[in-house]
Amino acid sequence: MAQTVPSEAHGHDAHHHVETFWSKYVFSTDHKMIAKQYMFTGLAMGAIGAFFAYVFRMQLAFPGMSVPGYGMVGPNEYNMLVTNHGTIMIFWVAMPVLIAAFGNFLIPLMLGCDDMVFPRINRLSYQIFLLSAIVLICGFFVEGGGFGGAWTSYPPLSANAKYNLTPLGQSFWLVAVALEFVAFLLGGINFITTTMNSRAPGMKMTDIPMVIWMIVIASILFMVSVGPLIAGAVMLFMDQQVGTHFYDPTTGGDPILWQHLFWFFGHPEVYVVLLPAMGITADVMATFARKKLFAYRTVLYTAIGTGVLSFTVWAHHQFIAGIDPRMAHVFTITTLLISIPIAEMCFVYIATLWGGSITLTTPMLWALAFVAEFLIGGVTGIFLGASGADIYFHDTYFVLAHFHYTFFPIAIIGTYAGITYWFPKMFGRMMNDTLGKIHFWGTIIPFNLIFIPLFILGAAGQHRRIYDYSLFPELATPELQAVRVFATVSLLVMLAFQAVFIFNFVTSLRRGKKAGENPWKANTLEWSAASPPPHGNWPEGLPSVYRGPYEYAHPDREEDYWPQHLPN
């Protein structure tokens, strides 16, 4: 049960750290440093993924022309670029930033403890993650080139170099992904045990901020869903390097087995990244609408329900893959039903605004944009979940536009919301709000101008993963090519505006206004620590909790916020 605080206060400082550069920045076990390591690695990988997008979109807009800063894009390079763009953005950007960076930074701080439960396992998880990134990048430079069989890596193409022509690249890619999985399984140990066990005295389960719940549920979802894919990856690796035939139909194997194992993980995976982004949005919206999150319990149960349901929808990715046609009905039903809890969460977020007092700071703009843009992703998913409609849309740019309208809000908007909101706590300084707004509009407007055209291209029957449409008379029309050019130019604009963010980030680190403990007048525990918190977070003694995380505008109180750690 609840522990007394004062006797704990000196436990952490019982010995003195002698901090060197290496122990403070490279081999740190401090959750805040590990969080930053994940964040910066994730952002760096994001730059690589964005560069790949620049290259392949230039090829699509101006086929056959040398891309400035890269060179000629042949069909094998194109396949490698789109494969690794997707792989990097999901596994090396969305997951490390949303789950590992924010999870590591926030969990101990929002729960009122001094670190994660197993700091050395935490450090190990980052080291394995870094190794996985290095293995992936090395794979681009091996003989034969990087793997180009799409992030979904379907065999037989991915199982045999005689088909994919990348004998080394195919395995570097696979091993990198497997190592990333191991890193996140290790990281999950800390998230679960710290949240379950190390909460501040007085903190009930319903006093936990929504972002923490979401990260924890996401970790559990990841852990349960990734196992079968790890098994599948072992079998794929054996096929690639040892000569087994798990997925080779000519000798009794089954390529569809991989698809099931992949998507059984792949679908829950999208909720693994969605939930943390929704959590960040909830916390940011509550703070800047000065309002309690509407129906906290409903949000929580809905998130758990979504997680459970996410295990029942996977084969909507395989409607026309050659599965038994009767199965399509089952998966259409489950897929459309999962739209209900997601719709519910969207309604709750909208309801949270009602009666609020809304300030449009940069983090709030990002959080609101998340809701507005994700709605597009959500409703376009219905077209794909309905089996009859998916016959036309499968493998077209419609799918691509749909998942960018979900993934971009998740990975990019969610990240920017989180970074602009918690930057003061992480670095002790404020980011420039004007630059923040310029960056916001310079990202959001072009984003829509890239992907709405892609819905149109998909509806016109344009298929994915094709490096040059000139060979297809129905698609090589000047009108459709103009759409491709328009989308590419919008991407160039969007990428250019990211320089504003980088400039803002770097200059604010040095010259931003000093933040103080609680610049946003928020309630959750991290805002009662110094900005940035020292090693051990609250050297003066860990806090206790007296109320929920969203007690904004409480009638019994003059100020419109009521921090969790204040006795009254």
Binding site: M1, A2, Q3, E8, G11, H12, A14, H15, T29, P108, C113, D114, D115, M116, V117, F118, P119, I121, L185, G188, I189, I192, T193, T194, M196, N197, S198, R199, M203, M223, V224, S225, V226, G227, P228, L229, I230, A231, G232, V234, M235, M238, V242, G243, T244, H245, F246, T251, G252, G253, D254, L257, L261, G536, L542
Partner: protein
């Protein structure tokens, strides 16, 4: 040994953090082996010919190895009992017996595989044997990892340090045992 964060010592959920962590690890392993064995079962149901291949596994060696693992789990339980009674050296002795069981298992398997490869039943012979070596191999890797970690825990227990870890490595060991309990009938008995 560095200081533990206060976070490690709290126990709001009523279960010590170490035990929560081990159960998390085991849960993740269950889904991995579950996926592998599920794939095996699906394949097997679709290919009657596999019972011909499976006929060639050696049920005597399999049974012997099963008994070895079960016995080693017993000594792991006894190690836990000793650790609970704060008798570190006794716990270490029982852990050493468990490690011996694990090592025996692996050595016997090495001979078994050598024999089977000699007969032409290699990993690429057909998909049954691919599954056989992959599943049993993944399991054996877990046995080896368990033996190594157990050695570290035993060393510390001998000095009466970190006795709570005896239970934790024991839980892991029982899991490794349980996986084998599933593998054994699937690979050796179902013919």
């Amino acid at each position: 040994m560095s200081a533990r964060p206060i976070a490690t010592t709290r126990s709001t959920a009523g279960m010590p953090t170490g035990r929560l962590a081990v159960w998390w690890v085991i849960a993740s392993e269950i889904v991995i082996f579950g996926g592998l064995l599920g794939s095996y079962i699906m394949h097997r149901l679709n290919h009657d010919a596999w019972s011909n291949h499976a006929a060639n596994t050696n049920v005597y060696i399999g049974t012997f190895n099963t008994l070895v693992l079960l016995t080693s789990s017993l000594s792991a339980v006894l190690a836990h009992k000793a650790a609970d009674a704060q008798d570190g050296p006794k716990a270490a002795r029982f852990l050493f017996l468990t490690m011996l069981g694990g090592a025996t298992f692996v050595v016997v398997k090495a001979f078994e595989w050598r024999m089977e490869i000699h007969h032409g039943f290699t990993i690429t012979a057909n998909t049954f044997w691919s599954f056989y070596y992959t599943a049993a191999g993944l399991h054996a890797l877990h046995v080896i990892a368990g033996v190594i970690i157990m050695g570290i825990v035993a060393q510390q227990a001998k000095k009466n340090l970190e006795l709570h870890r005896v239970e934790l490595i024991g839980v892991y060991w029982h899991f490794v045992d349980v996986v084998w309990i599933f593998l054994f009938p699937l690979l050796y008995i179902a013919k």
